[in-house]
Symmetry: C2
Subunit: 324 residues, 2 copies
């Protein structure tokens, strides 16, 4: 790893190879699926890397396992902690459970019961806070001060990005002659990992990111040349609401060709299309790449495209097309 | 093929090998998925053969392709026909479309628009009838008399059973040391094909069938020693309402160890469990095997079990757990 101006550690490709060895016993090498129907519809060849089939239902276990299993015995004994009510909390709980160390998740008491149950199902301890940033930060600081737990950020962490980067390493082994890879972007952990791997081993492959128009802070950041963070955007792609941070901005700004956006309706239609035609359960966030490909046919026509399906943790009782 | 007393042709294992060669260009070799969560829950090792990922979303394209591509040029020119509003109509339309021959489906005008659209999407012609057996039979007889089309029955047809039998041939190549295989049973096409293949190449593997308690005519038939047909049973596993016929009864009676049943609630819970944990879209019918395994843990404990996920064509706007 090297150091950014901000003194954050930046992962290098060697860290990805170490991560791949380290996490291999705890994760799935996920399959790549294709759909002749969607190929016809888009005029391209789509290769869907199915991280919805990953352990805990999401790619984020890669980064979480890399952070957890990279800790020294002494550090590990103090456990890990994070503040997240989503897939990162689930992934970190899974990873800590596999290593048999404590994991504490600070979560607003208003978080959905299903998410709390899922974290506890993997052995995580939940500390509830008020649904405000100040309460969350104060509560989290207290947890870390008391336990000495290692803070694993959902994406602005070199260990996490190196872990996510193993996904495109697998994809590159599984599918040859890719013209580009496209992944959804929220905080930018998966996209940064993709940049890290592909800029090293296959710099000819273009990297696109896909973002909800309602939460297009990353697209505006890329075009402005600096990080723009929105306050609480609203989108059905609820994994993509968070802003870029300096480490993910470093990768996105250096290696991403473009960030394309899609409306809520586009995302919903693409999600239903994938469920119906590919028979897989995936999250709204994971439908954003297909939604943008369908809106930009001429850009992608004739190409072999890697499409990252990032996760499959969706509330089956509240499917978005049933709430319109 | 050999002949039954009823003078129906009975497929033999050689027909399965011919079918496998014949249909290979038109179907997927579907993947086998596993779930460590479901293995822990059942105390067994489950290998899910995912025919929900099959062309047209269902195993029935195997039999339909075997029938369609086995026709002489002269026969094929007259086309094929069937009466079904479900997966067989879709599968036969797909197969005929791939061969480029006409296909006519007789369907009550009350059939759901989505099913009509799907058949037409694959190039099928729909002839509507009244929603009564007499109207359906009269309409179908007229269609066949006019066109000379070949009638492909959904399951009581040697060509269809030989086609379905290629599924367990693949499964046997993909997973070793299976103790048993379990598949849902309606008319018995998939189960008959499984019997045909496994009784020849792996007679030590036990074959179980799984049936909704609300439509348990096959279970009662097996225990009584003769076919019992129910009139219009009601179950969410809507692919499993039809009765056994003489050809499928021949296989079921000769080779099935037992037929296990599950309540509507068991089926629904098993379906949701598979969607939630395995992230795959599959039909209520396909959940019946897991539902019966969960009800009969001691019978299956410790075994390696092949579980046939028969199809994935479900109405995403009317998921059964949302209508309770």
């Amino acid at each position: 790893m090297k150091t950014l101006e901000s003194s954050l550690l930046v992962p290098e490709f060697e860290d990805v190879l170490i991560a791949q060895q380290r996490i291999q016993p705890y994760i799935h090498k996920t399959p790549v699926l294709t759909s002749s129907f969607l190929n016809q519809l888009t005029g391209a060849e789509l290769f869907f890397k199915c991280e919805n089939f990953q352990k805990a239902g999401v790619f984020k276990v890669r980064g979480a396992c890399n952070a957890v299993f990279g800790l020294s015995e002494e550090m590990a004994a103090k456990g890990v902690a994070t503040h997240s009510s989503g897939n990162h909390a689930l992934s970190l709980s899974y990873a800590a459970g596999r290593r048999g160390i404590p994991v504490t998740v600070v979560m607003p008491h208003t978080a959905p019961q299903a998410k709390k149950d899922a974290v506890r199902g993997y052995g995580g301890t939940i500390i509830e806070c008020e649904p405000s940033t100040s309460s969350r930060e104060a509560t989290f600081a207290r947890v870390v001060a008391q336990s000495g737990a290692d803070f694993v950020h959902p994406y602005n962490d070199a260990r996490v990005i190196a872990g996510q980067a193993t996904c495109s390493l697998e994809l590159h082994e599984q599918v040859d002659s890719l013209g580009c890879v496209i992944a959804p972007i929220g905080g930018g952990g998966m996209v940064s990992g993709t940049c890290l791997t592909l800029s090293t081993i296959a710099p000819q492959i273009k990297i696109y990111a896909a973002e909800p128009l309602n939460a297009d802070d990353a697209a505006r950041s890329l075009h402005a040349g600096h990080i723009i963070a929105d306050d609480a955007p609203e989108t059905i792609a609820d994994g993509l609401k968070v802003p870029l941070k300096d480490l993910t901005w470093h990768f996105v700004n250096s290696h991403v060709t473009d960030i394309l956006t899609a409306t809520e309706e586009d995302i919903l239609n693409a999600m239903k299309l994938i469920w119906k035609r590919m028979k897989i359960v995936m999250e709204p966030s994971s439908a954003v790449p297909l939604a943008t490909i369908l809106k930009n046919r001429e850009l992608f026509a004739g190409q072999r495209i890697g499409v990252i399906i990032t996760g499959g943790n969706v509330d089956l009782d509240r499917l978005p097309w049933l709430n319109l």
